[in-house]
Symmetry: C2
Subunit: 219 residues, 2 copies
């Protein structure tokens, strides 16, 4: 079986991404990043729950606490409040962690090169992702070129973004079809006990379930 590194934050999108990689026949290797986000403990539990569900042997959790040292985002700097959702806002929100996904993909590529994996799955969503610049397919295309230039000649790693053009509604329907364990995922940026219901991430998830005509199993 061909190995793939799956970036699993513990959120719904990464949960569905794992289901899609499994369905494509890859041996799953799960990578989780702790970058000092507020809800890390809850996300890490979700990561292991989803890994257990898929019986994943190769799992790695790494600290990227330099993103918290660097700050610049309400997700990593506790002196910056998490604003209430404003899904109509076209500005890049304060929850943007500067260049976060490049930090994550770099670690994932290092691990993939050592594991001999040829694919990196990341559940980024372009349309529905609060306008983060590092969630656009053109960013991943540029990064894939960087991987080609910066790894050994016999290393070939593709970045697979199966959700990139999907809406939250479509992600939920896809996850449902593949029996993804969405009930084990966690999305809230703010709380670890029950979803706050107010942050961008909760708002996007709630709108998606509403549009899909389904109930969120974690509520």
């Amino acid at each position: 079986m061909i190995r793939a590194v799956i970036l699993v934050s513990g959120g719904m999108d990464s949960c569905v991404t794992a289901a899609m990689a499994k369905n494509d026949g890859f041996e799953l290797c799960f990578l989780h990043l702790n970058y000092g986000q507020r809800t890390e403990n809850r996300e890490l539990k979700a990561f292991h729950d989803i890994a257990d569900f898929y019986d994943v042997k190769n799992r790695l959790t790494v600290d990227m606490t330099h993103l918290a040292q660097i700050g610049g985002s309400c997700l990593t700097d506790s002196t910056i409040d998490v604003p209430n959702a404003d899904l109509e806002n076209e500005e890049i929100p304060i929850s943007y962690v500067p260049f976060r996904n490049a930090n994550i993909l770099s670690a994932a590529t290092s691990w993939a090169e050592v594991l001999g994996a040829n694919s990196l799955f990341i559940g980024a969503v372009e349309e529905d992702s609060s306008g983060y610049p590092d969630c656009r397919r053109r960013f991943y295309d540029a990064f894939e070129k960087t991987i080609d230039e910066g790894t050994k000649p016999d290393t070939h790693i593709k970045i697979i973004t199966p959700l990139i053009e999907l809406s939250k509604k479509e992600i939920i329907l896809e996850g449902n079809a593949l029996h993804a364990p969405i009930n084990l995922s966690w999305s809230c940026y703010e709380r670890e006990d029950i979803p706050c219901g107010k942050c961008d991430s909760c708002a996007l998830r709630a709108r998606g379930f509403n549009q899909a005509g389904l109930l969120d199993p974690i509520l």
Copy 2:
């Protein structure tokens, strides 16, 4: 003054790179990465000594110990021996840390975006760098494109590699001309008390001083 983030390992190349950025009129912000390399304590001392020399206020040291967790290199995995230098070998040596420079540049870009710096200086050397794929200018060009795609629209960061086409001899002569504190730098991959004289990094440094007709001030 315009800020620049300078990647300072503590080695001779980064020391001379800092001297060149200073000479270009930038306000220096020094970034050091601990990635679990064997000689980190000695390198960190060199970092602070060089930062003190240039009176650098913004300095950040961050842990990238995930590169040690991931392994795959004699620099980060103590079960893999550091081989003696073989400067004629055309294979990528076992001291290659998979995709290391992308991990480093990603952190540097995150910090630069928060600081409002418009330049990242890295003392990579293409000709003389043991064949690491992530030390080639084409890798940096690809990464610069990734920065453009993955940061805010008003963030513009150039990767400046002033040593990329220089030989070690030329780097030493440039450092001498700019009064770079090469005496404070540390290059050995193996030892922290005196340079081992046998690793690739010691061998390249010794050959450079020999060709420059100068004595290494740390010997």
